[in-house]
């Protein structure tokens, strides 16, 4: 690991100032010379691999006192960005009224990592693309912009089939983000000029021609909270993977339904493990809304979700797998007793 300076931020202003002071123009957030440290489960790992090389670490854990609330209200839910994954997953009201959130967190990583990792850090985690993580491969557009992509014709079994470009097919690895995007969450960001809010769907950027730019956050900005309106007791997170536990998704889905008198009033479908960014499958939702549920409808929705998918040599199986995951999650959601 390369040397870095370490400082603790005892209030948000100090954190923002320390992070933005070190920010150089033209550098994307992922390569900023100062990086915030929360749980550290991505950052320290990638620093050991020499993938991330910050000269300064700003420890934001002291901000947890103000930024780790888990506040389910009657009308909405507020989750502080420094809440630990394990605490949110274990929260009674989250399990009851937002099972898709609780299960997306519970099915991620391991008990130890969930005790460390925060919600904000979790949505900002970097791809597990093995060519991105191994600096002996020079050609990675995400790590070395303009250098090419070793995954295109490499071992791309884990890679994305949606949201891809000819520059990058690295999969967004997280689970919780799928629940957030499905539930139309808002993300609250704290920066130099105070806080701003935006739809969570606007946080991540598909790779396009700039895979090194992963989010719309600027250096010096920190996620401080997530907000979700309404309650979603009829919701499911389903994850298919190579191992039963402690493994990233080959294909996952976050599904939330509002069913009244047998008719689907509202439907939310998001996909994980198959796309370059947290992926909302609005085409699938359009198939479902206003319809009575049956297995044929689940299949049509699943087909719509993957209509634009493009596989490569080793990952085309994800399209068939992903459709089955969506169809099964819809069946599970419809059958839930709430």
């Amino acid at each position: 690991m390369r040397p870095f300076s370490y400082q603790r931020a005892t209030d948000p202003d100090m954190a923002v100032q320390a992070l933005s002071a070190a920010a150089a123009a033209n550098k994307p957030l992922t390569q900023a010379s100062a990086q915030p440290l929360a749980g550290g489960t991505t950052l320290i790992d990638l620093m050991k691999l020499d993938v991330m090389r910050p000269a300064a670490i700003v420890d934001i854990n002291p901000l947890a006192q103000g930024w780790s609330e888990i506040s389910p209200g009657r009308e909405n839910l507020r989750l502080g960005a420094l809440a630990k994954m394990s605490d949110v997953a274990a929260h009674d009201e989250i399990q009851r009224n937002y099972p898709v959130i609780a299960n997306s967190l519970k099915l991620a990583a391991s008990a130890q990592l969930r005790n460390m990792a925060t919600l904000g850090g979790n949505v900002m985690q970097r791809t597990r693309c093995s060519y991105f993580r191994d600096v002996s491969y020079e050609n990675c557009n995400k790590r070395n912009p303009g250098s090419g992509c070793a995954a295109m014709d490499g071992i791309n079994r884990m890679h994305a089939v949606l949201g891809i470009s000819d520059q990058c097919i690295a999969t967004y690895p997280g689970d919780f983000a799928q629940a957030l995007i499905a539930l139309d969450a808002t993300v609250e960001v704290t920066g130099k000029s105070g806080t701003r809010s935006m739809p969570f769907a606007e946080l991540h950027k598909a790779p396009g021609n700039t895979p090194e730019i992963e989010t719309t956050l600027q250096p010096g900005e920190l996620i401080s909270a997530f907000l979700i309106s309404g309650r979603w007791p009829r919701s499911v997170y389903l994850k298919a993977r190579d191992r039963q536990s402690y493994e990233f998704a080959l294909s996952s889905t976050a599904v939330a339904l509002d069913v009244q008198d047998g008719t689907i009033r509202d439907a939310r479908v998001a996909l994980g493990g198959v796309a370059t960014v947290p992926w909302r499958a609005r085409e699938a939702e359009a198939q479902l809304k206003g319809q009575k549920f049956d297995d044929g409808l689940a299949q049509r929705a699943a087909d719509a979700a993957f209509a634009e998918a493009k596989g490569r040599q080793h990952n085309s199986f994800k399209i068939a797998l992903g459709k089955r995951v969506v169809a099964r999650a819809l069946q599970q959601a419809v059958m839930m007793e709430i």
Partner: protein, 204 residues
Amino acid sequence: MSDHPSSQSSGYDRRSFMAGAAGSALVPLTARATVHEARAAVAQDPALPVDVTLRVNGQEKRLSLDARTTVLDALREHLKLTGSKKGCDHGQCGACTVLIGDRRVVSCLTLALAAEGQEITTIEGLATDDRLHPMQQAFIDNDAFQCGYCTPGQIMSAIACVKEGHAGTDADIREYMSGNICRCAAYPNIVAAVKQAAPEIMKG
């Protein structure tokens, strides 16, 4: 074997010989930054070690560390508490699991500076006098290891697993112990050990 008790009592053992030969425990005698100073807007010089006090198994330990030092390396290389093992060093295997407060974490991805002020419990802190912790005894009783390398991490993780309330069923134990890999595949015996120790641990 150099780990034989008689050779340890003579003040010579394999670990201290190797550590001395490598000279890795030496820190430069230069001006030192402290974490307290580092709270100021200007961060400390990365070339300087930082004074930090860690609470390990109920004792305060004053150390002077490179900012890059993880809790695992602080334990193993600076405090000579080599019970916590370095397996992957990337948070994937669980061999380095310790408790920080009452939470199990992987010490290889935790910076020592970030753990200042918190109670760290390692495998060395479990036994009292000549009595093993119930989870240690249960691992022996159930033959829950072969090579033993993952065992300290398994035991620390298992204690937390029980206290979290995640040891109610075999399926729960398997799910909530999945962060600890055992390449000897002693898993069935590990599940049995966790089940044996759970009631005694919950009794307090």
